[in-house]
């Protein structure tokens, strides 16, 4: 089997696998947010950047090549990730202490793993709404990181395209595909793949709030980098 290196560790791969896929198969954690094993790589969050031959590349979109010498966990690489994570925090409204996703949130856990202590940029405090129209699910747009996992899940698995991203640049935001833009008027159902895919606290089931106390949640028990795969949901 062909092989390459991640942080000096030998990793075998099947031709066609991305660096991320090969790493996951070898139980090596590369921090990531928009990547999910079940879906085609999106390459948008850039958190999985690694260094290869002096250049930053996103591990989820580059194919593994024999002889690569990848740097994953090193201070300078983590520093780049921290800056990207910081942008995600300041562009949204992330009040972890009052968020139902806290403790099982990938953004939070990846940021903690990368050692993000405090942002250095001013917070934007954007004005975003909440959609509580659906009987079973709540949408809190304040926390969306535009990873498009819900977009991919709804379109590619559920065959519905309930979610989409509209606007450009800092105006990019999640929208619901229905006449009035409300979740209740869309074809969204609680059994959809899209209902359980959001890595942060946007698409949340109702009637379950704080069932698991903070401190006893998924990543409180096992850190995100210690899990075998990142199946947020």
């Amino acid at each position: 089997m062909p092989a390459f290196k991640i942080d000096d560790q030998e990793v075998e791969f099947i031709p066609g696998q991305s660096v991320m896929q090969a790493a996951l198969a070898a139980d090596i954690y590369i921090p990531h947010l928009c990547f999910h094993e079940d879906f085609k790589a999106h390459g948008s969050c850039r958190i999985c950047l690694v260094m290869q031959n002096g250049r930053y590349l996103s591990a989820c979109t580059i194919p593994a090549v024999e002889g690569m010498d990848i740097i994953n966990i090193r201070d300078d690489v983590q520093e780049q990730r921290k800056q990207l994570l910081e942008l995600l925090f300041i562009e949204g409204n992330h009040v972890c202490p009052s968020c139902e996703k806290s403790g099982s949130c990938s953004l939070q856990s990846v940021a903690e793993f990368c050692g993000l202590l405090s942002p250095s940029l001013p917070f934007m405090y954007p004005n975003r709404s909440v959609d509580a129209s659906h009987a079973d699910f709540l949408l809190d747009f304040n926390r969306c990181i535009l990873c498009e996992l819900c977009v991919r899940a709804s379109r590619d698995v559920d065959g519905k395209s309930v979610f989409g991203i509209s606007g450009r640049g800092s105006n990019a935001h999640l929208v619901v595909n229905s006449a009035d833009g409300k979740l209740v008027s869309s074809s969204f159902e609680k059994t959809d793949r899209a209902a359980s895919i959001c890595p942060v606290g946007v698409i949340l089931p109702k009637h379950r709030g704080f069932k698991v106390p903070i401190g006893k949640r998924e990543f409180d028990v096992t850190a995100i980098n210690e899990r075998r795969e990142n199946d947020a949901g």
Binding site: V95, C96, P97, C99, Q108, C114, G115, L117, F123, Y125
Partner: protein, 179 residues
């Protein structure tokens, strides 16, 4: 005997939860008071800060009094530590940033439930409320930030004891929690 290390603490727009977490270091607090002297702090009820080695600031910046206290802390403390989620990103108090100040005041003092004598308070003694709630590091330079709501007692102790011993504090990734 060398002078004791002086520590000041304050809660701006916070809930005193971070101070409670400091008290949660339990019996280590006895070691701490052996090593340090508390200057301005809710624990001493001293109202005016003098020159200190370490300042611990909990809470966000929401009114003119918070700004004054925070600037005073920065001026008098060699090392300033922002403690907790509200100090770090505004936290729960900053959730009002999505509304205008007028809306917030009306919701509380004019349209609020069970009001006896509705009307926005305007006593000259009251500090002016800022248009927005700001995190501490957006108003003054901060030397260290301890995330958490509140940061665990262990983390506060680790950082304080490192500083007291003249070591650079190290916060392990696994000890970082934003909630």
């Amino acid at each position: 005997m060398p002078d004791k290390i002086k520590i000041a603490t304050t809660s701006l727009a916070g809930c005193f939860g971070c101070h409670m977490s400091l008290l949660d270091i339990d019996e280590k607090f006895i070691d701490l008071v052996e090593l340090v002297e508390f200057d301005r702090s809710p624990l001493t009820d001293i109202k005016k800060i003098s020159d200190c080695d370490i300042g611990l600031v909990e809470g966000a910046v929401a009114n003119s009094e918070n700004v004054e206290v925070l600037r005073d802390f920065r001026k008098h403390c060699k090392t300033l530590i922002a403690v907790g989620a509200c100090a770090l990103n505004g936290g729960i108090p900053a959730m009002r940033n999505h509304f205008t100040l007028q809306e917030c005041l009306e919701e509380s003092y004019v349209d609020g439930m069970g009001l006896d004598n509705p009307g926005i308070p305007d006593d000259a003694e009251l500090p002016m409320i800022l248009n927005r709630v700001y995190p501490v590091q957006q108003v003054v330079k901060v030397d260290y930030v301890l995330p958490g709501c509140p940061p665990p007692a262990e983390m506060i102790w680790n950082v304080l004891s490192a500083l007291l011993e003249g070591r650079e504090p190290v916060i392990n990734a696994r000890d970082i929690h934003y909630d």
